[in-house]
Symmetry: C2
Subunit: 504 residues, 2 copies
């Protein structure tokens, strides 16, 4: 590796800047994410899943290269070399590391093995709006079961998670498909066999963009290719016109609108002759449908949808995704898109074991789901109330102020000593910025009387707009700043906090 | 960068192996860590600190190079190059990224700015027992206050956190020192000024090893150098004998035992003439002492200790660390060592701002603290109870079994359907391995009678050792496996769970 440029850096002042595609997370987002993850965790635990976590990086070989975006350096992965020259990569999802984990601990794990984990993943992609190079996923996986019941369970768990988060029925749907159906169609048009794996993937990825590019865009990508708005040209799969039509007829039977009803399953292209692989996929789909219906899930919760493909290469059977439909400002429903998805990946653990190990898993895009919950007003993303600020009126008496803080904290009240160098004005401004409920002041006069002043900042800002002549102004002003005896400090602050809790 | 070797990999079977120095985390460790972090978080919130999190990597320049272990490639940091050739590094601590965050958001943040975060950090070090290349830290920092009250607050918060975690008084101590004191000693022996910064660091790091290497080892590192047990030679600071003695007299005044009493502050080397820097450090130390005493902390909670140095280069004033003293099997106290530490780093944010920005922070080594809590029996690290397992007696009736699972889950009970392909025997073994409280069985006979069988696995294993003739065996056997009507399933399982909760 080349020498690090910082060594020759001569400028005196470094630039404080995050690399592109990365983001810091503030208190409101952290708290909202934690609440959301706890809710999902509760659902997954109830399903018998248990947590397991793997590190942020792995041997590059162990992760494999299954990302859709192959036009990027290192195929979308951040890699670096270890001392012993072996390549390491930051994980790009949580599935590939889990496959390594299960293979490494195969003999000691219960099988089938149900597990879940939330964690950051990394993509070496061109960053864009809402497209980050580090983001969080929340995954659940069942390894060691080939049964469609395992896939059905994933779909039900996804639906349960959405409802536990407060997303109303009708605003989410779990859409299910099976890669084998499309594989059958591709076989029929002569794209079967290992030698066409690359081309099949190009076709899958074209279909995966149906939502965004509409049928005409997908048709272009199945053929010679497509020029996007920026003028960039994406090479297509190079299928013949007839083959393209067969694929399109299967993927969106009517083509006038996307098929969102789900009752069009097995709408086959004219002249289509389903082979074994197709029938196998159809049977699995029907089995899943039977199980979820029997468990009481309705068609608006879990639904068959032929357009679902999922971009990742490693899926081998059932695939599913959770789509949200939210309302815009005028109350009109808008498709928010996918907040999670997954599928069966029977080949991933097998790479290590040399024997087939069936597996299926589901991954939630945490930031995207959080954005949806904010839109729905289902999660609090306002900053939490700040601490009580004990101001420093007289710098020599800082130890006294410190012990007031201590008394408040010992009573379980969030409290802090002002640690800056400003006078009282800046201290009040600081407390405002911290979203403090109240500040405590003790100057020489108060000290002499054995008192402290308590200033309610919320009430103070409320009465700022009131007419100063009115009685309620005077009364509220008296409530907004008042003196109490030193030993009444904790009780008085509790009253202010209670007032605030009541007004929320 | 060289091409990735996986492309030319020809072997059919990949090795499932974590890179050296990394570890997976199982359910018990994850749950225990979560509980521990929640407790610490509660204390930090009460002190008015708010969460903020930064990404796993940053521009290499922005992080700087402050790690002690400079004999490693890339100076202990994992680095890789971005598309635009700029170097990125995985964070090696949480302080350097926070400095970047504060500098980047300086104008919008309240100042002083108190924040906390838990997160993984990465060190490109030689892994060893208990020494990992990814590990978690829990940091709290106050940026924008030069007051020793900010340092005192850190020490009190550290003590409060230890007590909140259940570590008894006397088993932990927060030890405080000030880099300026030692800087004063170093000035006195002619190591002042920028030109001796490197040598001063060598001296600091030698002293930081006092615990492990004892005075004779440190003395060697201050002089020509030291050969360790493995025969590796570490070059020393090259001080003259007289200078070494002055340093040693200050660091451990008696030298016969380490000074753990803390009342030896300002025990000066003979012929030592304290300069301004030393006096400044002594004043700060005394200020901190006054504040913590006034807030009611005793000497066995927070104590001055001249041997505390902390290995990181960026500390500029007060430094502190939390040491635990636990008991071995025979009840004898053993030093467990440091579970956290920190100090004042007034220069770190200034690197970006071009103006001084005082700051102080404290970092907990999460895994190490967890190990200590386990040793003390203060945190549960046994696996949690597993789910109720509904067995599959008749594969054609999987949808029926699925709906039993659904009924249990809807009642808030952790439950799952057996998803493997084994017969009843392997299903029971699976349930045992999952730590399940009970399994549900419904064969054809039970179905005909409208019943289900419930088998209590805990009770079942308890009676396995009892004599089969005795009455209590027969009674318990009846309790351990029994039939209930289908619609009594949820209530019966609740009873089994209650029995278990009672016996714990």
């Amino acid at each position: 590796m080349a020498d690090n440029p910082s060594k020759s850096e001569k400028s005196n002042k470094l630039k404080a800047k995050l690399p592109r595609g990365l983001a810091d997370r503030g208190p409101a987002e952290i708290a909202a994410t934690r609440r959301m993850l706890e809710t999902i965790r509760g659902v997954y635990e109830r399903y018998g899943f248990e947590p397991v976590e793997t590190p942020m990086f792995e041997y590059t070989d162990a992760l494999g290269k299954f990302l859709p975006d192959q036009d990027r350096p290192n195929e979308g992965v951040f890699s670096f070399q270890d001392d012993d020259e072996q390549w390491l990569s930051l994980r790009y999802d949580l599935t590939a590391p889990l496959a390594r984990y299960v293979a490494e601990n195969f003999d000691t794990l219960p099988k089938p093995y149900r597990s879940y984990r939330a964690g950051f993943v990394f993509r070496n992609e061109k960053p864009g709006p809402g497209r980050f190079r580090q983001f969080m996923q929340f995954d659940a996986d069942t390894v060691g079961s080939a049964s469609p019941a395992a896939d059905a369970e994933m779909c039900m768990m996804a639906a349960d998670a959405m409802e536990a988060l407060g997303i109303p029925r009708g605003s989410y749907v779990v859409k299910v498909n099976n890669r084998k159906l499309l594989d059958g169609v591709l076989e029929e048009i002569g794209l079967g066999g290992d030698e066409h794996a690359g081309k099949r993937l190009t076709v899958l990825r074209a279909i995966d963009k149906l939502d965004r590019l509409k049928p005409e865009g997908v048709r272009a990508l199945l053929g010679v290719g497509r020029k996007d708005e920026s003028g960039d040209f994406t090479k297509g799969a190079g299928l013949e016109v007839q083959a393209i039509e067969k694929v399109m007829q299967f993927v969106c039977p009517t083509e006038s609108t996307l098929n969102l009803k789900g009752d069009a399953l097995l709408t086959l292209p004219t002249s289509f002759n389903p082979g074994d692989r197709f029938r196998e996929g159809a049977n699995e789909i029907n089995e899943i449908r039977k199980l979820v219906e029997n468990a009481g899930y309705a068609g608006d919760q879990i639904r068959i949808d032929q357009t679902v493909v999922r971009g990742l290469e490693y899926y081998t059977g059932p695939v599913y995704e959770v789509e949200l439909t939210l309302s815009d400002d005028t109350g009109r429903p808008v498709r928010f898109g996918s907040v999670g998805g997954g599928g069966r990946y029977d080949g991933l653990v097998a790479r290590f074991r040399g024997e087939p190990v069936p597996a299926t898993g589901f991954s939630i895009g945490v930031s995207r789901l959080l954005a949806a919950l904010q839109h729905l007003g289902k999660i609090e993303t306002k900053p939490e109330p700040g601490p009580v600020v004990v101001t420093v009126f007289d710098r020599d008496r800082i130890a006294d102020y410190q012990s007031m803080v201590k008394r408040l904290r010992d009573a379980g009240i969030r409290a802090e000593l002002y640690l800056g160098s400003g006078k009282l004005g800046p201290q009040f401004k600081y407390a405002d910025k911290r979203n403090s409920p109240c500040v405590i002041i003790q100057g020489g006069d108060e000290k002499a009387r054995g008192e402290v002043q308590i200033k309610d900042l919320i009430l103070g800002s409320e009465i700022a707009g009131l007419s100063k002549d009115r009685d309620d102004y005077l009364q509220k002003q008296a409530e907004a700043q008042f003196a109490v005896a030193e030993d009444g400090l904790v009780d008085a602050v509790r009253k202010v906090l209670a007032r605030r809790a009541g007004s929320l």
